[in-house]
Symmetry: C2
Subunit: 355 residues, 2 copies
DNA sequence: CTCCTCTGGGAAAACGCTTTCAGAAAGCGC
DNA sequence: GCGCTTTCTGAAAGCGTTTTCCCAGAGGAG
């Protein structure tokens, strides 16, 4: 019967070698070009390989040579434009260096993150890239560090983007504080005095940094942010939407709102629109990140622009750069305040009014 | 000196086995749970493995067991929100099934696509997922098919999303024609009679399908689309932008524009804004796909909504579904016309006027 | 012509696991 | 007590490469 496949599933190197009339060893050397092989033999092997459609088994190669050209990329959710943009940069750089990227989305579950690190360790990935804010939960971060530490010792490379430095690894860090501070100043310069912040989960380091920076910037203008002016929400469009609604419900009357993330700002914009609050006439809105589509919004969103694609390219370069000295390297990338139409001077110039 | 690492880099299974006082075989069985192992031995092995921080070598496992739980995902560019959304769905499904996803971005170069298929073959990926329109270039498609065919014969699974059926593989196909036709009808119903299309590269099948569908829909209303009313551009925001400018330059005065892709529509919207053309007052604009942010635009974009995340989940399910009968399966997903504020009745009701 | 150094090729030993194949131990009916 | 299953365990044979290690032969020097 045709039950049992008579043809072996994959062409292996020794078939190629036999066909070319050389030994297995020579065939391997001919194809990899590590050692000199007589030119005619090399050609015979190549011809046989092509003829037979030989595809080397990457697992066998990795096992035998203990080498590997895959890197792991762990982010919260590739579907999110922020991560997608960074991932795009990583892919670009990976393609140039013939690296294969194993992608992992944690969907914001710390346990999944750790599990993925473990999986990538098992895959003997050359590098593990962690994109995005870590979890403030001490226990998880420790567990992660414990998982990463033996990997590093075994020669693995780890680099992070936008993640707090609890881990001693190379990092691409946006200037969250400075960027938020600069934004605050720009908003002050527009004449705003009454601010509110749509903040993300307070356990994310990115959030605390941006919040702190924003406060610093405001402080330069003598403004402080009352606790009733900070609303926390999830790091998503819906989170921003809900936070904005909550803010409106409190009706403390800020003239300017800073959403710590563009994605949240998008949700906030929708919430404002639904509530009949006009941006920027009634309220100014600013975000952070400059993800691809926010400049297309109406009004286009004022934000702090981060070079997301470049950050993706940098993080992989950083991870793979050879002289991994004793100390970890940090590449700080500046955020540039981009004033767009979502921010404008406040409607009523509040000259020296005390709330 | 401390030159040579005295500690072996990785803990291997036989170290674990020795530590637990059992044989290599038993240790393997204890950890994998394939065969019954006496409970106390199993516990000893587990304890030893945990103590030593044992991480199995996935390559060795794959080699020895000829199994593998990785799938490859090939798309044009993960940075593009369209692909990002689908990839997000794939990741979700993959996480649930403990599959590791190897991601590849072709950056729209056919050669790279084929190279990636080859790489994924070498990795012995369980499945290869191709997302996005194929290349019309016959030679490339043939080369791709030639690369895929032995993979399929070797038991590999291939599934595509939104890719023309030159390949005999499982597919998730959006109803491009029907969706575009429905959109055309909806636009006709608004009262439009003068249309234009911002089309993508004519060699992409998605483009031709949507264009044909749109024409069909218009034909129902007795409208035909002159060649001067179709502008081709790249499948990107910039492509849409350029195409829209070109259209305006031709000044043939359509009241309604259909961009075959939301991403292009976004570019068009920007171009219109720059040119002082108001949407929808001066011109109505519609897209296709319903990528995440277009509902947030002002005006929110009328489009044909595709369940992108679900499509990603479906394609991986399709690829892995067991009874791969002789014929390939096709999952058609409908596009739903979503009328938003970017379309409105034309300013001047053109009652029966002939251009 | 012999000895020595190179070059290049083949045999075989890893690489770290899974899995087959027996064999030992234990339980059971008679 | 004896044979017969049943369970488990261990030895060893792969899986498909790379990479020693070693040897044959070629070429040069003396």
């Amino acid at each position: 019967m045709s039950e049992r496949p008579s043809t072996p599933v994959h062409v292996t190197l020794d078939v190629v070698a036999r066909r070319a009339g050389v030994s297995l060893a020579t065939a391997s050397r001919a194809l990899n070009g590590t050692t000199r092989v007589r030119e005619d033999l090399r050609r015979r092997v190549r011809a046989a390989a092509d003829l037979l459609g030989y595809i080397p088994n990457a697992h066998a190669q990795a096992l035998a040579s203990a080498s590997n050209n895959t890197v792991g990329l762990i982010c919260h959710d590739v579907g999110d434009p922020y991560f997608a943009a960074i991932a795009g940069g990583v892919m670009r750089a990976a393609a140039e260096q013939d690296l294969l990227v194993m992608l992992a989305s944690t969907f914001r579950e710390p346990a999944r993150e750790i599990a993925y690190v473990s999986t990538l360790r098992a895959q003997r990935a050359r590098a593990i890239l962690l994109i995005g804010s870590g979890f403030q939960d001490r226990a998880w971060e420790r567990a992660l560090a414990a998982e990463l530490e033996p990997y590093l010792r075994a020669g693995g490379r780890v680099a992070v983007v936008s993640r707090h430095r609890t881990l001693r690894v190379d990092a691409v860090l946006p200037e969250n504080r400075a960027g938020a501070a600069a934004l605050a100043q720009a908003l002050l310069a527009l004449g705003h005095r009454e601010f509110a912040v749509l903040s993300g989960p307070p356990e994310l380091t990115t959030v605390t940094d941006r919040l702190a920076g924003f406060r610093e910037g405001l402080a330069q203008g003598g403004i402080t942010l009352g606790p009733d002016r900070v609303v926390h929400g999830a790091f998503t469009r819906e989170g921003g939407h809900a936070a904005a609604r909550e803010l409106l419900a409190r009706s403390t009357g800020p003239t300017c709102v800073f959403a710590v993330t563009d994605v949240m700002a998008v949700g906030a914009l929708a919430a404002f629109r639904e509530a009949g609050v006009q941006v920027p006439q009634d309220i100014s809105l600013a975000g952070f990140d400059d993800i691809p589509l926010v400049r297309e919004l109406t009004p286009p969103l004022t934000t702090v622009a981060l070079p997301l694609t470049a950050m993706g390219q940098e993080v992989i370069a950083l991870a793979l750069r050879e002289p991994r000295g004793p100390r970890s390297r940090v590449l700080r990338v500046g955020g540039e305040v981009v004033l767009r139409a979502s921010t404008a001077p406040p409607a009523t110039p509040l000259t020296g009014r005390t709330s």
